[in-house]
């Protein structure tokens, strides 16, 4: 068992109003799983992903990673854990705009204090692995959306982390590029055996996963597709309001 979440809650205070982003989530994730987290906007998907990536702490409950309770870890230990065990892919790519593709990949190795030559070599390899060897010297604004996301994937993979956490990795991409990126992630997952956790609205993307979970108002729930017969898989993943509108 890689993760074990017991009664995990996350409460925010926004404009004097308390919001339960996560409300008693119980979840277990095995090593090597490709898990898709689905849910409508504001259902707590990203919050859950951030908890799993040690970017935030739960307000209550227990969140264990490899048997260690992340709630009890200090900021320094969490930084250490993030740098060694997790790779992140964001919807907006989150590349440093002033650095080249290669330098962006290298930023993931900075916490490891790797020698500059070794850092460069590994970054080149990672970029070659996502098919961007020839774009290494370009800054993000000179790359297409798909290329930028490939750079972000290379950045996430360069440290060979135990877990890859992707937050809407194809949310900003067209359909063809989406297929490319998901194909790449799936291929890497199969080749490397890393745990892949993807937050997505896209049912097709979710359908590639080995397991899917559905979040609704911070709670794990049933997939609404089962309750709406005749809807194809892609529609199922869309927010409830959009689905209702289409109906």
């Amino acid at each position: 068992m890689l993760y074990r979440l017991t009664e995990v809650t996350k409460r925010y205070t926004q404009r004097r109003k308390q919001i339960d982003a996560l409300d008693g989530v119980d979840l277990a994730i095995d090593e090597g799983e490709f898990l898709a987290i689905q849910g409508s906007t504001g259902s707590g998907k990203t919050t859950l992903l951030q908890m799993l990536g040690a970017m935030d702490r739960p307000s209550g409950g227990k969140l264990e990673f490899e048997g260690h309770d992340l709630v009890k870890m200090g900021e320094g230990d969490l930084s250490e854990l993030r740098s060694h065990s997790f790779g992140f892919i964001f919807q907006g790519f989150n590349l440093i705009p002033t650095l080249t593709a290669q330098e962006n990949v290298e930023t993931a190795l900075v916490p490891w204090h790797v020698h500059a030559d070794e850092r460069r070599r590994r970054a080149e390899e990672a970029l070659a692995g996502v098919g961007l060897a020839d774009r290494a010297r370009h800054i993000p604004s000179e790359l297409s959306g798909g290329e930028q996301q490939r750079v972000a994937i290379a950045r996430a993979l360069v440290r060979a982390p135990r877990v890859i956490l992707a937050d809407e990795p194809t949310g900003n991409l067209d359909e063809r590029t989406r297929d490319d990126i998901i194909g790449l992630l799936e291929q890497l997952w199969r080749e490397r055996g890393q745990t892949l956790i993807v937050v997505t609205h896209d049912t097709w993307v979710a359908s590639r996963a080995s397991r899917r979970i559905w979040l609704d108002r911070g709670r794990l729930g049933e997939e609404p597709a089962a309750a709406v017969p005749g809807l194809d898989a892609r529609v199922v993943a869309e927010p409830a309001l959009a689905v209702a509108g289409r109906l």
Binding site: Q50, M55, D56, S79, R82, I96, P97, T98, P111
Partner: protein
């Protein structure tokens, strides 16, 4: 990676970076210019004080003459008898400076034994007045006629007196002489002197008939090293020509103290004592002790004299002290605040960037280091521009500021008798204002710019580092 990231980031937001650097630069430039101005004013004050007081002298001691002492000098210009009428005559008279009473040399030993006194020396200032001409032709009387009192200044510094038609011309000239202790020239009237030709006096000259002549007097009277100059009939060899600071109340010539005492018939006496204290902190104590030992003496410290400085130099000094200092401090605080605000603003715009880096495992201190690095580069640019602007400002001050005039109530030295430089007369000294920028000042300026950058960077970095990655990534750009 660190420097690449720093320089790329600064290049990306070069306008803001330049604005931050300029903010620091303006503060630094003001500090440099104001400090240079203050240093220039201080230097001008020192120049004035040195010219009046001598370099390295902390305290001077003199004693005012009682009113009944001295009196009119008589030169015996009336012919002793009618047979001498029309004959040539030459008279000279040596007088210690009027208004100043002689002080026994024993006082020097007494003062030297006081606590906090580092060195003591004495000098004897005197005037030698020479009159030469012909005895008046007196018709029909034996009492003779007085030469006219009205004197006309001649080009060589002597006065020629035009009598009535029947009177022969009479030349009156005066020479101010200072007797100096040749063993202690670092203190006293010659301490600020610079030898322009020949040599200075040495301890070996204590009993020799040698003299130093001021550059102005030598030029006026076409004197040079090796020439012989007579004082009251004694021949003195000129061994050096010396230059004294502008406005100095210098004598025309300087001779060994023993000879000045002989010529003025003041054996073992001086009329001015120069004291150097062990440290600046001791000056007040030493002054009080001397006043106790010599209650009738006028004991003046350099700060007393500085307090008496008035005129535009004094105003400039007040301006530098009050307005300048506070202006520089205010500008510095403002520039630090501007730099901090701009840095925090830049950090706020990069919250997601820093959140991403933290998500990648960058520790808070690494993020602070990155922001600090960027800030320090801006600080260096600010320091370079600021020092440049400051030096330019200092040069402009020096180039365009009018000459400063200092008026000091002189209690130090007097000029020839009959001249307005009496013991309590005011003296005006004109000095040109400089605004020197020392390496030390440049160092301080660079340090201030870097300190400003450090404060701004630390503040901005702290803001960036305390963000949790999840909170940072949640922010919308």
């Amino acid at each position: 990676m660190f420097f690449t990231y720093v320089f790329r980031e600064l290049r990306r937001r070069h306008r803001q970076a330049l604005l931050t650097a300029m903010g620091l630069a303006v503060g630094v430039a003001l500090v440099v210019a104001v400090t240079a101005y203050a240093a220039g004013v201080g230097k001008a004050q020192d120049q004035v004080l040195q010219s009046l007081y001598g370099v390295g002298t902390d305290i001077t001691v003199s004693q005012q003459q009682k009113m009944e002492q001295g009196g009119a000098q008589r030169f015996g210009m009336q012919p002793p008898d009618e047979s001498k009428q029309g004959e040539k005559f030459s008279r000279s008279r040596v007088m210690t400076s009027p208004g100043q009473q002689s002080i026994s040399s024993k006082r020097l030993t007494q003062i030297a034994s006081l606590d906090g006194v580092s060195a003591v020396t004495g000098s004897l200032s005197m005037s030698v007045m020479s009159v030469q001409g012909e005895f008046a032709q007196v018709q029909g009387g034996s009492s003779g006629a007085q030469p006219s009192a009205s004197a006309q200044q001649s080009g060589d510094g002597s006065s020629s007196q035009q009598g009535q038609a029947q009177m022969a011309p009479i030349d009156v000239s005066s020479l101010s002489v200072s007797g100096v202790d040749t063993t202690e020239l670092a203190l006293g009237p010659l301490s600020a002197a610079q030898v322009s030709s020949g040599r200075s006096l040495t301890s070996a000259d204590a009993k020799s008939k040698v003299m130093l002549v001021t550059k102005a007097y030598a030029k006026q009277n076409s004197l040079s090293v090796g020439d012989v100059k007579k004082i009251d009939g004694k021949k003195f060899t000129i061994v050096g020509i010396v230059a004294l600071p502008a406005g100095s109340t210098s004598s025309d010539v300087y001779i060994p103290l023993s000879w000045a005492q002989k010529l003025s018939d003041n054996a073992n006496k001086v009329n001015q004592i120069y004291v150097k204290a062990d440290s600046a902190d001791d000056i007040a104590t030493v002054q009080a002790e001397i006043e106790k030992v010599m209650p009738k003496a006028t004991v003046t410290t350099s700060s007393d004299l500085a307090g008496q400085v008035s005129g535009s130099l004094s105003s400039a000094s007040t301006l530098a002290d009050r307005l300048g200092k506070w202006l520089a401090i205010a500008a510095l605080i403002a520039s630090f605040a501007v730099a901090s605000l701009l840095t925090v603003s830049a950090v706020s715009r990069r919250v997601r960037e820093f959140g991403t880096l933290k998500a990648l495992g960058w520790k808070g201190r690494r993020v602070v280091g990155q922001v600090l690095g960027e800030s320090m580069v801006q600080g260096i640019i600010g320091a370079v521009i600021g020092v440049g602007l400051g030096i330019l400002g200092a040069k402009l001050i020096a180039a365009f500021s009018p000459a400063l005039e200092a008026t000091v109530a002189s209690a130090v030295q007097s000029g020839p008798p009959g001249m307005p430089q009496a013991a309590d007369a005011a003296q005006a000294v004109t000095v040109n204002l400089t605004a020197p920028v020392s390496l030390q000042l440049i160092g301080v300026a660079v340090g201030l710019a870097l300190a400003g950058a450090l404060i701004a960077g630390a503040f901005g970095g702290w803001r960036a580092s305390r963000l949790r990655p999840a909170d940072a990534l949640r922010r919308v750009d």
